[in-house]
């Protein structure tokens, strides 16, 4: 009988221990932050394959594909400290697994801004600079004389000035002819007070902003822009306004 009592106590102790150790993870473990990358056109969620948006140049257009790299994503806290979130992230609008990126083990702190590079900097943007996955290889920028990867492939169709003639557009950005066309983005947000809990920061890209502000981007005559530095320059300038923080919330 004594043996059984011992057994019972052991089992009880084991269960108690398990429960306690689970509880610990939820309440006192390090925090986490999830970056979520969403896309809009003029503020509305993107509706794929629907020729319904009107751009500043006067064409109605659709979004068919969208892939791009963000790199050196960092979060900054009020006390001046920073943490690195991810070196390189490839977002594909058709691949849900690329929508969110979660960093565990975020130290407690009051985070209030995010920064990243749109595209890849000169150290990464070289042939073989990224891991040889199928996805990265599909982003290669093989133009003879250039190096590295597409920063963005934004592809769709447009109705040329409402004439009913449907054409394709391809906004393919990257480094060309010795010009690095990546740019840095830094955005403040209302404080995420990480206290061993998890938060989501929703970063939004408005695709229409690539086509305006400050420069009007006209699809006509822009079929081939990979070696057109003037077009790359224009898009880079427009890129300054494409990102915004849609929300910051505790999960």
């Amino acid at each position: 009988m004594k043996k059984h009592t011992f057994l019972k106590i052991s089992i009880f102790a084991f269960i108690l221990f398990s429960v306690l150790s689970c509880k610990k993870d939820e309440d006192n473990g390090p925090g986490s932050i999830t970056i979520q990358l969403d896309h809009t056109v003029k503020g509305d969620p993107v509706e794929i394959e629907n020729i319904k948006y009107t751009c500043q140049a006067g064409h109605t257009f659709s979004v068919v594909n969208l892939k791009y790299y963000l790199s050196e994503i960092e979060l900054h806290a009020k006390d001046g400290s920073s943490i690195s979130v991810v070196d390189v992230h490839l977002r594909d609008i058709h691949d849900l697994s690329t929508e969110q990126y979660t960093v565990e083990d975020i130290p407690d702190g009051d985070y209030n801004s995010i920064s990243f590079i749109f595209g890849l900097d000169e150290t990464t943007n070289v042939d073989g600079g990224l891991e040889n996955t199928i996805e990265n290889i599909n982003m290669e920028w093989p133009i003879p004389g250039d190096q590295g990867y597409h920063y963005m492939k934004f592809e769709g169709r447009y109705d040329s000035l409402g004439t009913g003639v449907i054409r394709n557009f391809n906004i393919h950005t990257g480094a060309t002819m010795g010009n690095q066309n990546y740019f840095e983005v830094s955005m403040p947000f209302s404080e995420a007070a990480v206290r061993s809990n998890s938060w989501t920061i929703n970063v939004s890209m408005d695709l229409n902003e690539w086509l305006q502000n400050p420069n009007t981007y006209d699809f006509d005559g822009m079929e081939m822009i990979m070696m057109n530095q003037a077009a790359q320059e224009l898009l880079k300038a427009n890129g300054a306004s494409v990102f915004s923080i849609a929300s910051v919330r505790k999960n």
């Binding site: 068919v64 891991e131 199928i134 290889i137 093989p142 003879p144 592809e155 394709n168």
Partner: protein
């Protein structure tokens, strides 16, 4: 209470006995399971090959897969083997519409319409179970195969899963990386392109021809589906047949262009007899439609409008993708 412990004891003993049983000696003396691991070799500029955890590569598995590939026993009527339609000298293609077997270890989508996706083990299971409908009793009753399957997979009962895993192991080794093109881009190889080939390379890898956005990378395929503008009324036997989505009309898997000079005729329906005809199509025969791929950047001009000289250059470049080391590789040939 005591009884309970007794039953528990019996149950545990039985359980341990059963789980140990797997390790017991095979019923046939002389069979041993001691496979040699196989390392798949490929150049650094190739993508990282993803393997199937449940199907570790072994010398025994690869060799067995090669036998199955060439053995008509796999077919219920015994009148054909995989190799009957997939001929090594033609990059493992043959008559119209047969897809070649080259660098399939990196593929994630299979068949023209994408009916099967996943890894090479998945397509092999489809080939064995659904396409050939292999009768496995023929293998289980065979004189030599049971031992070979035991040595590769430690099984005494051959199933279609084992057969497909062996085939998958063999096809993962069927790699082309030694074409004239591969030599040209390897510095120090001493192989240089002709002026025609170089011009063709420029057309292929710039927006002049813009072939690389779909047939790009070292595999010469993006593993995705596109409507490249063959028809004004895109056909319904492509990806849309699988997804049921009208937005997928006219979309087919991008075929690899490796060994393309060996795999005529071309396209999912074999409509073009020569590479010249294919290039004529991309130059002036492109048909816009609601689902044409945005990457067909010059569709509104009927194509990329090449000069005759540019067409010749592009064809010359495509021919640099022929790999005779591959088509003559004894490791891929008929073992019987």
């Amino acid at each position: 209470m005591k009884n309970l412990y007794f039953y528990l004891f019996c149950f545990l003993s039985l359980f341990i006995y059963l789980s140990c049983k797997k390790d017991a000696v095979p019923t046939n003396p002389g069979w041993t399971y001691d496979p040699t691991p196989y390392t798949v070799e490929y150049p650094d500029n190739f993508p990282i090959m993803v393997f199937d955890e449940d199907n570790p590569m072994t010398v025994e598995g690869v060799e067995l897969g090669r036998m199955l590939y060439y053995d008509t026993l796999l077919h219920p009527n015994g009148d054909m083997a995989c190799a009957s339609c997939h001929d090594q000298s033609l990059s493992f293609a043959s008559f119209p519409t047969v897809l070649p077997h080259v660098n399939l270890g990196w593929n994630t989508t299979f068949l023209w319409n994408g009916k099967v996706s996943g890894n090479i083990e998945d397509i092999m299971l489809f080939e064995v179970d659904d396409f050939f409908k292999t009768d496995l009793t023929k293998f289980n009753n065979h004189e030599t195969y049971p031992k070979l399957f035991y040595e590769a997979f430690e099984t005494e009962e051959i199933t279609s899963v084992h057969a497909s895993r062996a085939l998958a192991q063999f096809l993962r080794t069927v790699i082309s990386s030694d074409s004239r093109y591969d030599k040209i881009i390897t510095s120090g190889s001493g192989v240089f392109p002709t002026e025609e080939e170089l011009n063709g390379y420029d057309i292929f890898f710039t927006e002049r021809g813009d072939c690389f956005h779909c047939h790009g990378g070292i595999l010469f395929s993006d593993n995705l589906f596109h409507n490249n503008g063959l028809d004004a009324e895109p056909s319904a036997n492509g990806l849309s047949e699988i997804t049921g989505d009208p937005l997928d009309l006219g979309k087919y898997k991008t075929p690899t262009l490796r060994n393309i000079a060996l795999t005529a005729p071309y396209m999912h329906d074999g409509r073009f007899q020569t590479l010249e005809e294919v290039v004529d199509f991309y130059s002036d025969g492109v048909q816009p439609s609601a689902t044409i791929d945005p990457l067909m950047k010059q569709a509104h001009n009927g194509g990329i409008n090449l000069t005759e000289e540019e067409k010749d250059d592009l064809v010359a470049f495509l021919k640099t993708l022929t790999d005779t080391t591959f088509t003559n590789n004894p490791a891929f040939s008929n073992p019987f």
